[in-house]
Structure formats: C-alpha cells, structure tokens
Amino acid sequence: MWDYSDKVKEHFFQPRNAGPLDGANGVGDVGSISCGDALRLMLKVEPETDVILDAHFQTFGCGSAIASSSALTEMIKGKTLDEALKVSNQDIADYLDGLPPEKMHCSVMGREALQAAVANYRGEVWSDDHEEGALVCKCFAIDAVMIEDTIRANNLCSVQDVTNYTKAGGGCSSCHEGIEEILAQVMAERGESFNPGAQPKEEAPKGGMTNLQRIKKIEAVLESVRPQLKRDGGDIELLDVDGKTIYVSMTGACAGCQMEALTLQGIQQKLMEELKEFIKIVPTKAGALSRASCHV
C-alpha cells in the first residue's frame, strides 16, 4: 500500500469543494496519461478583480489524485488568477505533506488543470508542453521521457552521465539496468552502441564550475539554511568537500538533536538541486577529519 501522509488521507476521505460548481466561468479538463487519471477544475472568477471566488473539482482517479484536486481548490480560493498561477505542483505536494514519487504526477495534473481553467476563463487555448513517461528512478522521481530527452540533448553515453545530468540513478542504484537500456536505445538512434566501460563526459554539468565556484555554491546553500538553524539555537559549518562527499559539523542545539538526520537530509536535497549533481552530506565533528587522515 502507498505510504500516504495523513493530510493526503484526510483530503481523500473528506474532499473539499467536490462536485459541479454552478456559475463557473473557467473550466479546465485535463488528464494524466500515466495513470489514466483525469480532472475537471471549475472556477468562479469575479471579472472586476480577477479573484477566484470559488473553486470546485471532479476527479476520475486514485486517492492522491482526489486529494491533490481537493488541496488545489483550497489553495487557490480567494487568490487572484495571477497569484493562483504561481502555485506549483511542488506547492500542492507540500500542502499535502508530500506525495510518493510514483504519485507526483497527480500534483502536476492539478497544476495543469489550473492553467487550463485560467486559459478557458481568459478565452485562450491551453496546450500542454510536457510528456510523461514510465517512472525509472524512484529515489528522485525521474521518468523515462526525461532521461531520454536529456541523453539526446547532451549526447550522453554512460549511467554516470545520466546521474550527473538528471540525478536519476544517484540514489539506491536499482534502476541502473533500466537506465542502461534507455542509453542503448537512444545511442542506437544516433548510430552508436552502448559500452558499459565508457568514461563519463569530462565536464559534468557542474555548469563548468571550478572547485572554488562549487565550494562557494555549497557555502551559499548552507548560508541560506543558517537562519533557520540559528532560530532553533544551532548552526552548521562546512568542514571539507571531497568529490561527492560534503563534510559538515552540526553545532549548538543541532549537535545530537533527534531531528539531525532529517535536517541533514533536507540540506542534502537542497545542495543536490543547486549543484545539479548527486552528493552525500556527512556530519563529522570539527577536527575529526585531519585525525582520520592519519590512520590512512
């Protein structure tokens, strides 16, 4: 069974704003091919102010599709259309305290229904611009189409390349066979054959970052989370960067805090997004690193 958050369950069992909406003046009908799910979002917009007075939904879909639809209607009511359009699929997932990776497309469908409904209200035609494929990497929710496109666009030829560019395969590594198959297929299109021993491309997408630039970027990410940590009486310090391993020291109230692992996980995720590569964050006591090297 899916590991749904309590918030997802709650919105599924008691959906808000379900059913037809009388007087709706903006309607968006979209479907997600990945699940066969489909959603009709109905908006009642005040023409003078562009404020969404009411929003209802009807959904043909699974638990998380219904919960995402319900959450979306709650999130956009009272907003102007322009404000509402700023709601991202990640915002919908966050509102529900997260969705399983296989189910993220439910939140994407919600976001698309919103775009479609607004376009309908404004008399525009909405066309979808993204295609979704079979989920390959469950750690980072990367699908086959995304991997194929990235391989094609960057002439990639190794699993490590794919991980560097998309993060796919950078976690538990169970999907490497699947990634190799996609590589073989796309490389065949350009007349090459996949060679498991191929070296990854030299300039990985650190965006051509030098070591110094990379470390500065890491510092910047840590700086951005520092206020939050300080609010809880703690802090974080960068000790060393060794390839893909980033050593940090948690100080103050953060050291040994029960939430330490969770906090680090969040920071690691943020670092990976910023650096666009797979990295590992390792908590270490200051001074431990130099000592450790003596034992080598």
């Binding site: 369950k9 009908d29 979209v30 091919i33 959603l39």
Partner: protein, 402 residues
Amino acid sequence: MSGIYFDNNATTRVDPAVVEAMLPYFTEQFGNPSSMHSFGNKVGLAIKKARMQVQELLGAEHDSEIIFTSCGTESDSTALISALKAQPDRKEIITTTVEHPAILTLCTHLEKEGYKVHLLKVDGKGRLDMDEYKKLLTDQVAVVSVMWANNETGTFFPVIEMAELANAAGAMFHTDAVQAVGKVPLNLKDTKIDMLSVSGHKLHAPKGIGVLYLKRGTRFRPLLRGGHQERGRRAGTENTTSIVGLGKAAEMAMEAMHHENTEVARLRDKLEAGILAKVPRSFVTGNPENRLPNTSNIAFEFIEGEAILLLLNKFGIAASSGSACTSGSLEPSHVMRAMGIPYTAAHGTVRFSLSRYSTEAEVDRVIAVVPEIIAQLRKLSPYWDGDGPAAEPEKAFAPTYA
C-alpha cells in the same frame, strides 16, 4: 485479526494446522537433510512425506517429479529457461497476453536475447483462439507456457488440450498453475503437461516455497547448480520448514477441494449477484462460465480502483484492483486491456477472491458496503451526473491528456 479478507488470489493466511506442523522443524528438528546423522535423517523423512503429499495433490505419477523451489516465479523461470537450454535449435516461445508478470517480464527479457515470443490474444471474455495457437505451433517452438487460471479474472485456459497439441508438435508445455492448484482437482499423470508451477502461499502454506512439477523424461537443465539437493535439479539447502508446511497444506487442500468448489463458489456467486443487483453500470470481467470457484472480478465504470480500495479498507475489507495506480505502473491491468475493456471501466476493476475461511456474514457485509462506496466516488467523477453517467460520458468529459 479482524477484517474481511477477500484478497486470497494475492496471498492466503497460513492455516494454523500448517503452522503447527512446521514448528518442530525450526527447533528440535533443525538438521540438514543431507547429513548422515539422525538429526538430518528425520528431516529427510519429513521432506519425503511432504513430496508425496504434493504428488497426491497434483496427481503426479512419481514423487521424484516434484522439485521444491523458492516460489512460483522461480518455478516459471526454471521451466522456461530449461526448455530453451535443452533445445538450442528451437528459438520460439508461445505464451499469452494475459500471463502473470513472472512469465511476461521473463519473455520480454528473452526476446532481447534473441528468442521469438508469440503472445496469444484473448477475446472480450478472456478466451484464446485455438486456431491462432495451432498455426503458431511449428517445429521452431521450444516451449508453450499458458496459465491454468488467470489471477485477475479466474478464467481457465484449456491447458490439457493445449498440452496435447504442443506434444504432437514436439514442443514442451509449461503451465503456471499457481492460482489453480488447491482449487481445481488435478491429475497430471493423465496429461501431456511437461512442467507446472505451484506457489505455496496461494494455498495456505507460507510464502517463500514453490514447486516445479517436471514430468519424468522431460529434458531438463537446472537454473541453480551446486549441491545434489532435489536430485541435482535445484541446488541449495532445502527450506525444510516451509516444505513440511506445503506438504500439510497440500493434504488439507485435497480435503477441502469439494468445499472449495461448492460452498466457496456459492458464496462468490452470492457476493457477485448481490453487488451487481445494487450497483448500476457494473459488470463481471472474464468468463463467468468457466473460472475459479473463488474469484470475482467486477468493473465499476467511471471511477478508479485505488480510490475504491482505500474506501473498502476503511471498512476493513481487503480486495485488489487492476487500476494503474495500485501498481505504480503506467497502464491499467494488461489483462483488462487485452480483453478490450475500455479505460473508464478497466481502471475501476476490483477483484474479490474468497477462501475456505470466507463466511456468509462477510459476504453480506461486503454487499452492504460496496454500493455506497461506489456512489460516493461517482459523485466526484466528471463522467457522472446525478444518479447516472453523464449523457454520452466520453463526450461530456474529454480531457486534454498529457
């Protein structure tokens, strides 16, 4: 544990008598059956007994035709790969579009290795076209693998007749019978079936034990090589406790065979009729005339299966669905698609599978709960309008698919 468990095609509870039979083999009877001393000898005798109990259930001619494996999937893989390795000149496989992934995923993989796989189509009721089958049976076919009963709909395939045809064409015949064993009387000695897969946990034995039936004289190449266990046909120390458990479960399945085909079938029919009578726009999938006695697969149009299961679960009722969402795959059940069931119904299929533990009271309770769940979800469905489907539902709601 309370709750209504109508998901016995997924797995079954281990019968308490089976657990009791197994327990001594965890503790005092811990020996390795290969050992020379008496610790091993007694366990060896227990395995011998279990082998004969399974032989009896399958109607096999010899107990040496029973090979214990770790699960149904291992039996399936062993059978197909053995048939290909033993007949290197034959490069083709015939199977069906509605097999379990244990066969289909393997065949997809074998295709990449250069084998030709023919998938037999099914009609709207899940039946095969025997003429199509006969045409494909050439001297290039190494093995035919056709399931005895479909896990989603319970529909039977005519495997005994198909085995005769395969035999006449010089091809080996394998059947994945994990859903049929224990529910259908078997007499393999009178058939041309060369190989048959059994899964213990589908018949009240534990998970992690399976059987490959291998007719004497069938050419064989082991999947696992090593020690002399199972006469060298499946190396690896025996899962003694589970083998003993499967033996006991096989004996009990023989005793319950009549009950399974009368009382369980009656309860299933009552459940199905009760739901269909109260829920509009619902129908049975597969072939109701020719299927397992315990299985009913019902399509509820215009709603989605995972949502149905989540609400059923709230009432303590366990079932399963062919919707895409429940598996995390892109498509609804390949079985439903193969039968041409439209998407708006295929996503809303629910499988109820009973067992000899199912009761009349449970059936009555499910009949009472299901209609309100379906009505509740249809209220949320864009294809539904008030008390019935929107006029021309496919036109009333035609979303932009992405």
